[in-house]
Symmetry: C2
Subunit: 160 residues, 2 copies
């Protein structure tokens, strides 16, 4: 992936864009991970789960819903929730209509920890990520990549 600055052949810019995503993610997340563990004693994966529950109606989600929304550890969710539950931040509850299902709910303690951790986490992200971009760049990246989250991107994988 060397020389393709040629204006007649702009299609290779995605490689640099991808590299940027890769590096930004890795570097910022590494710092944020360290910081969170030091301050709060739990990793970003926990905060991800807590935040999903926080945003959910009733502060609770079924395992499967959690799995769909969670960025990290698509699998292994059972044990992840085990640990968070052991720490008292969430609680498993039976689902009224379906005896197979389990609902994971935020405990009051979990909510407190979430609030504190989230604020500090965002501060770190702002310092390490947002602060390195101009407002225009922030807007551009947000617009360009919006499709990856508020969008469904199943499509092109059908053919296996």
């Amino acid at each position: 992936m060397e020389h393709d600055d040629d204006p007649s052949r702009p299609a290779t810019r995605w490689a640099d864009a991808w590299r940027g995503v890769l590096f930004a993610n890795a570097k910022v997340l590494r710092i944020a991970e360290r910081d969170l563990v030091e301050r709060e004693g739990f990793p970003v994966a926990w905060l991800d789960v807590l935040a999903q529950l926080y945003d959910a109606p009733g502060n609770a989600l079924r395992m499967q819903e959690l799995e769909e929304r969670s960025l990290f550890t698509r699998s292994g969710l059972t044990r992840l929730v085990d640990r968070i539950e052991a720490a008292g931040l969430v609680r498993r509850e039976p689902v009224p209509g379906d005896r197979r299902g389990v609902s994971v709910a935020l405990t009051p303690e979990g909510r407190r920890r979430h609030d504190r951790a989230f604020v500090e986490h965002m501060r770190v992200i702002e310092r390490e990520f947002g602060g390195r971009l101009t407002p225009a760049e922030q807007q551009a990246v947000a617009d360009a990549l919006a499709g990856f989250w508020h969008g469904d991107l199943e499509s092109p994988t059908t053919a296996g």
Copy 2:
């Protein structure tokens, strides 16, 4: 809902930009990981190592250099190299001047596997990532995030 172009309050766009980075990375990488394992029988972490060696002068790097450049698995490099070496894709060699050191070199087989894997990997990235962005968006993201890789971003972490 979309109007935050307000100059008095532009600072919140980085949150959406960050979310985009997070999601794009996670979703695209997950697909690429599966694909690579299926096709080549090794994970992206291997390709990362192979690519670092490929780009290095003499197709070789010391463990520490490898660790600094590697995006994935900052730690655990010893065992990672163990595995790749066991597969015959790299070879450990003593360093002439320093008997503590170890140089990790790409084998001919490693080079072949790298070439093939890299091409296919890039194809997947293009399909899953590049293909979802317009050329203008690709350019914008590449420009905005360039600082995270060709740049040094040590600075603001000094105070711990």
